[in-house]
């Protein structure tokens, strides 16, 4: 538990550092704001339109396959650690598990959703 408590304190220390630097900078920096300054940067032109564009859902497919494989990776960690006690038996069942998921990856591959056109 103490190990985790130390991390918790460390998080607060990190937040503290960030806040302190922001505070110092706030005290030091100048502030001459005028309307043109608070426009979005667009290579010194007047911004055209908004950034409210919608993206291609190819990005989404990648995020989705990522979630599934992230779960797979999380399963692999206890497996790798318990491996010493389980031996070949564990290997076979994990190969099966990986094979099932790799089939999914290759399915996505064959369907062409992994291709970046």
């Amino acid at each position: 538990m103490t190990e985790y408590l130390a991390v918790l304190i460390f998080i607060f220390a990190g937040v503290g550092i960030v806040l302190v630097t922001f505070l110092i900078s706030r005290l030091l920096r100048p502030d001459h704001d005028y309307p043109e300054k608070s426009l979005n940067y667009e290579c010194a032109e007047e911004p055209v339109g908004t950034s409210w564009v919608r993206f291609n859902n190819r990005f989404y497919i990648f995020a989705l396959i990522f979630v599934v494989f992230d779960v797979e990776a999380v399963f692999l960690f206890p497996w790798a650690v318990a491996f010493g006690q389980l031996g070949l038996y564990a290997l076979v069942e994990m190969v099966l598990f990986i094979a099932i998921l790799m089939f999914g990856l290759f399915y996505a591959w064959k369907k062409g959703v992994l291709k970046w056109a």
Binding site: Y60, L64, D70, V71
Partner: protein, 99 residues
């Protein structure tokens, strides 16, 4: 700390999730409420594990996490398709099964 304190907390979180499902019209928030409810069940499982000194509950939690991931993956794919077809994330507008 008594284990029941954790169980009550799990109950509170579950209830918040349930209320969220009922009052939310935004389909994405609705999904997040489902996740919250799933995780409150996880909290209860772990609390019981702790009370009974067995790790079986931990294995269940692992499986629940997987189910949650799969559910979100397919669910959000559907949300995207619905949004592109009907330009809405209001679940009251998505009342017919065919589009």
């Amino acid at each position: 700390m008594p284990v029941s304190a954790f169980l009550v907390l799990a109950g509170v979180l579950f209830a918040i999730g349930a209320v969220g499902v009922l009052i939310s019209r935004n389909i994405i928030v609705l999904f997040m409420c489902v996740e919250l409810m799933l995780n409150s069940a996880n909290l209860a499982l772990i609390a019981f594990s702790r009370a009974l000194h067995v790790v079986d509950g931990h294995a269940f939690v692992f499986l629940v996490l997987t189910v949650a991931a799969a559910e979100v993956a397919v669910g959000l794919a559907m949300v995207i398709t619905i949004f592109r077809n009907r330009e809405t994330i209001n679940i009251d507008r998505i009342s017919i099964l065919k589009w």
